[in-house]
């Protein structure tokens, strides 16, 4: 169904009253729509009717002469011939075919280019996705690293703490390895005398503290002994001043300190106990 507006455009087209753009639009519509083409033909018939209102006039013969001369000068290729009246002219068809081949070639090339571009876009998209993925991994790793750093610090602190605990434990262990022995008086003249021995088997050293021991005679010394079952006789740990006590180190390595004893010996001490035992551990 053609609208009145389209009919008006077609009417103006037939009378040559449209601009170039509108003229092209009407001609395109005629090409696309047979109904539109039929309408234009009807309107042309109506317009041409008006021409019949002009009375016929005989043109001067000079017009025919001029026309004759013009046609004589007219090159034949300016004329439009009907295909039925002329021999088949293959040249336009060949040119058209060539053009078609070229157009198809361009179209195929364009299609290929579009495929390449599409492939490129897909690859770029994949690469971008991969890049995004890598960036996310990098971020995650950085976070993990920071977390690990924090954990590392915590671990270091824990290790430090563990070291401290270990040192403490070692200290405790060291103390655990120290044998404390209380020596009671065996002497009748000093029953209140006391002595304490702290013995560290690892270092083979010990400390002696005394309390209430009377002073030894001028030619006498108190001597400390370590009784180890691995030795047949007590092992000398040295002479000492009963007023101060002091550190001691046995003359032989002590494997097991069963008891400690103090004897009153000649001045300078003895290799084996010679004098009376005045103090003995429990």
């Amino acid at each position: 169904m053609i609208s009145e507006q389209t009919e008006e455009q077609a009417s103006l087209y037939v009378l040559g009253m449209l601009g170039p753009e509108e003229t092209r639009q009407v001609e395109a519509a005629m090409e696309a729509d047979p109904e539109m083409a039929e309408l234009v033909h009807r309107l042309e018939c109506g317009a041409a009717a008006l021409a019949w209102t002009a009375p016929p006039l005989k043109p001067p013969p000079a017009v025919r002469r001029r026309l004759t001369t013009a046609i004589q000068r007219e090159p034949k290729d300016k004329r439009t011939e009907t295909p039925a009246e002329t021999a088949f002219n293959w040249l336009p068809w060949a040119i058209a075919a060539c053009l078609m081949v070229v157009v198809c070639g361009f179209a195929y090339k364009r299609y290929q280019n579009r495929l390449v571009i599409a492939d490129f876009i897909i690859r770029e998209h994949d690469q971008q996705a991969e890049l995004d993925r890598a960036q996310r991994q990098e971020t995650a790793l950085a976070n993990q690293l920071r977390a690990a750093g924090r954990e590392n610090g915590e671990l270091l602190a824990e290790v430090e703490q563990a070291h401290g605990q270990l040192a403490d434990l070692k200290a405790r262990n060291a103390l655990a390895g120290v044998k404390i022995a209380m020596l009671a008086s065996m002497a009748k003249n000093a029953p209140e005398a006391r002595a304490v021995v702290a013995w560290d088997g690892d270092s083979q050293q010990g400390i002696l503290k005394t309390d209430g021991m009377p002073a030894a005679g001028a030619d006498q010394d108190y001597q400390l002994w370590v009784i180890d079952p691995n030795y047949q006789t007590p092992v000398s740990a040295g002479v000492f001043n009963p007023a101060t006590g002091g550190n001691f180190a046995p003359v032989h390595r002590i494997m097991k300190a069963d008891k400690f004893a103090v004897s009153l010996e000649k001045k300078g001490g003895s290799e084996t106990p010679q004098g009376p035992i005045v103090m003995l551990s429990e």
Partner: protein, 224 residues
């Protein structure tokens, strides 16, 4: 005098155009010669156009003889200048000589096709003249006055019938539509100029032109 010369020399002149040694028949009046090479179904003028498209100078001569009075009359009516009408007539027939092959019998009758070609060429000249302005008008006024064109009394019965049919069709449409389509067809005025001239809105003028052309087209379908 001019008419005698025209009728005597027409065919030999067009025969000489071809220069191919073909002996054309002597000039004869009227459509007696038009029966050659035509099928019974094909309208005579359509067959002539087909022959012209094949380079048939004799067919072209026949078309000129048949059509030039009505086309020259149209050109004189539009251009109101016999000298320019002659130039337009020559230009129009050259167009037919070159483009006869483009005629499509399915779209229109041969006379409608030819009329629209010559009408458009006349309107182009009219508009071109108006664009050139008053300077050209002054030159035209200084030219020696031409003798008025001679009415052609020899129009065949077929064309007379056509004119009668057109007259009836034009009388059947409203006067305002007739006026609008006549101005649009002959004057070369734009739609706006026609609206101003007739003192009607542009939309009304467009509608009158549309309705007038459609009614004429329907009334004269198959008659032209």
């Amino acid at each position: 005098m001019a008419a005698e010369f025209y009728s005597n020399v027409s065919l030999p002149i067009f025969a000489s155009i071809m220069g191919n040694g073909v002996a054309f028949p002597a000039a004869q009046d009227g459509p007696a010669r038009m029966s050659r090479e035509m099928s019974s179904e094909e309208p005579p003028e359509a067959a002539l156009l087909r022959q012209v498209s094949g380079g048939d100078a004799e067919a072209f001569d026949e078309l000129y003889t048949r059509w030039s009075p009505m086309l020259y009359g149209l050109l004189c009516k539009i251009l109101e200048d016999p000298r320019e009408a002659e130039d337009a007539l020559q230009e129009g027939f050259l167009h037919i000589w070159r483009k006869a092959g483009s005629y499509d019998a399915r779209r229109s009758s041969p006379t409608t096709w030819a009329y629209m070609i010559f009408r458009n060429k006349a309107i182009d000249r009219l508009r071109s003249r108006e664009r050139r302005g008053k300077g050209m008008e002054r030159i035209a006024e200084e030219e020696p006055t031409m003798a008025p064109p001679v009415t052609d009394p020899g129009e065949d019965a077929e064309n007379q019938e056509r004119r009668e049919a057109v007259k009836e069709a034009l009388e059947s449409i409203p006067a305002d539509q007739r006026e609008a389509v006549s101005l649009a067809f002959f004057s070369g005025l734009t739609q706006t100029e026609i609206a101003e001239k007739l003192g009607a809105p542009l939309g009304t003028i467009k509608a009158r032109i549309r309705r007038g052309l459609l009614r004429l087209g329907d009334a004269l379908k198959g008659k032209l």
